[in-house]
């Protein structure tokens, strides 16, 4: 589909999200924001409906997290690690799909194509590992979403790739201190640093600082990440 890849899809909803995060009675509004709402069958909304969609402590560096007690208790009472792994799996499904499409687009060649293929191969391995992990935890893997991405030209696609990878790294970092099992944490850390490598490499290709946050990377919460991923999920 044609879409301005420079547009930040998350911006318009940031203020609304903060309000929603603090107000548990707004959860249905949150689900609607995500394109779901009660009864909708979309992949993302099924996932969100199952876990309440609220994981609202944002940022992992510096002072106290802004999370609501509602968010925290909901997450932990719902088999936290399964939810977190499914959240990661959803992001990885999106990334893996993205790179498959980019490779088929014919927009890239040579070393850039090699890098893109390598990254895509990693994301596919992440999908497989996380699917297995959910299974081992006795959970049901998140449904594979149907995705769509704007693929207009090489520059905008690279920019989107960098956005997605930087977001993915922040997403993993945002969950690190919420994971209960040391084994799941070890797995998450081993993926988190690879997403950071991807982000850094793509940033460098674009002439952007490899570490835009400086000496300390910032984590992002589910509430911050999911709206930015939503534009790429059809159902």
């Amino acid at each position: 589909m044609k879409q301005n890849a420079q547009q930040d899809p998350g911006l318009e909803s940031a203020g609304a999200l903060e309000e929603l995060a603090r107000d548990p009675s707004s959860r249905r509004r949150f689900l609607k924001l995500m394109g779901g709402g009660a009864g909708a069958a979309g992949a993302l909304s099924v996932f969100l409906a199952a876990c309440g969609g609220s994981n609202s402590s944002s940022g992992t560096t510096g002072g106290a997290a802004a999370g609501t007690t509602m968010g925290t208790s909901t997450t932990s009472s719902m088999g936290g690690d399964v939810d977190i792994v499914n959240y990661a799996l959803t992001l990885e499904y999106v990334e893996a799909d993205f790179y498959k499409e980019v490779v088929s687009s014919g927009l890239f060649s040579g070393p850039q194509l090699d890098l893109i293929k390598a990254i895509g191969e990693h994301e596919q391995q992440h999908v497989q590992a996380l699917e297995q992990t959910v299974g081992k935890l006795g959970g049901t893997p998140a449904p594979k979403p149907t995705t769509k991405f704007p693929l207009d030209d090489a520059k905008s696609v690279l920019t989107l790739a960098a956005t997605v990878e930087n977001l993915g790294a922040a997403a993993y970092l945002g969950q690190a201190d919420k994971i209960q099992s040391p084994e799941i944490l070890a797995a998450a850390l081993s993926i988190h640093s690879v997403e950071a490598r991807h982000a850094s490499a793509l940033n460098s290709l674009l002439g952007i600082d490899p570490s835009p946050d400086g000496a300390f990377a910032s984590g992002a919460s589910m509430d911050e990440v999911l709206p930015q991923v939503k534009p790429f999920i059809v159902s």
Partner: protein, 208 residues
């Protein structure tokens, strides 16, 4: 292109003061308690092999020693004749490592621990190429070290800080690998390295 295991192997082949690491270790081991028991490589090494329950403080001191090493490495590297891109990278990354040193030092103090003192280091680089090669090895080792230590960290705040730092080390590694025409992400999963492996690997770079 070096995987974490070969990052450790790369360090193993480093020569310090004209002797190989292997010879260095043998010589050290001949002296009673020289390798693990004394203050030669800082108090945290003693803790690592003692039966202490220092927990997070031990892990933080381990990280602090690596950050001292990296900060000093980039500082000394900038004295080489570096191309402008690499010079800028060394300055920026070195600044990050210094900030890591400060943050880890403060965290250890907040936890009531004693920060490990900064060791003296010796880096066997002589030009940009050898500097970049060692940079890649050190950053990869750092990623492996943090990822290895992460699951043992007790405090969620400390874990969040470690995560925030390891992401930056991974970003460093990828950028340096691009300078080396090496793949920025050698595998889909970064391998965890245990503390002992990392300490043994960096020991040749520690003079006192």
């Amino acid at each position: 292109m070096s995987k974490p295991e070969s990052a450790v192997a790369d360090l193993a082949s480093i020569e310090v003061a004209g002797i190989s690491r292997g010879a260095f270790l043998v010589k050290s081991a001949l002296a009673v308690g020289a390798v693990y028991g004394t203050a030669a490589v800082g108090p945290f090494v003693g803790q690592a092999f003692a039966q202490s329950s220092g927990g997070d403080v031990d892990i933080l001191n381990f990280a602090l020693t690596l950050e001292y090493l990296e900060a000093d490495f980039y500082k000394r590297g900038q004295k080489l004749g570096l191309s402008s891109d690499v010079k800028a990278l060394a300055a920026e990354f070195g600044d990050h490592e210094s900030q890591h040193v400060d943050a880890l030092t403060q965290t250890i103090q907040k936890l009531g621990g004693t920060p490990a003192p900064m060791p003296k280091f010796a880096f066997p680089f002589k030009d940009e190429a050898s500097f970049l090669k060692l940079a890649q090895t050190l950053e990869d080792t750092g990623v492996g070290a943090y990822n290895g230590a992460g699951p043992s960290i007790q405090s969620k705040e400390v874990l969040a800080a470690a995560g925030s730092i390891v992401q930056v080390e991974a970003r460093h590694s990828a950028a340096i690998r691009l300078q080396n025409n090496a793949t920025p992400a050698p595998g889909a999963f970064d391998q965890a390295l245990d503390m002992q492996t990392v300490l043994e690997a960096v020991k040749p770079l520690i003079k006192s």
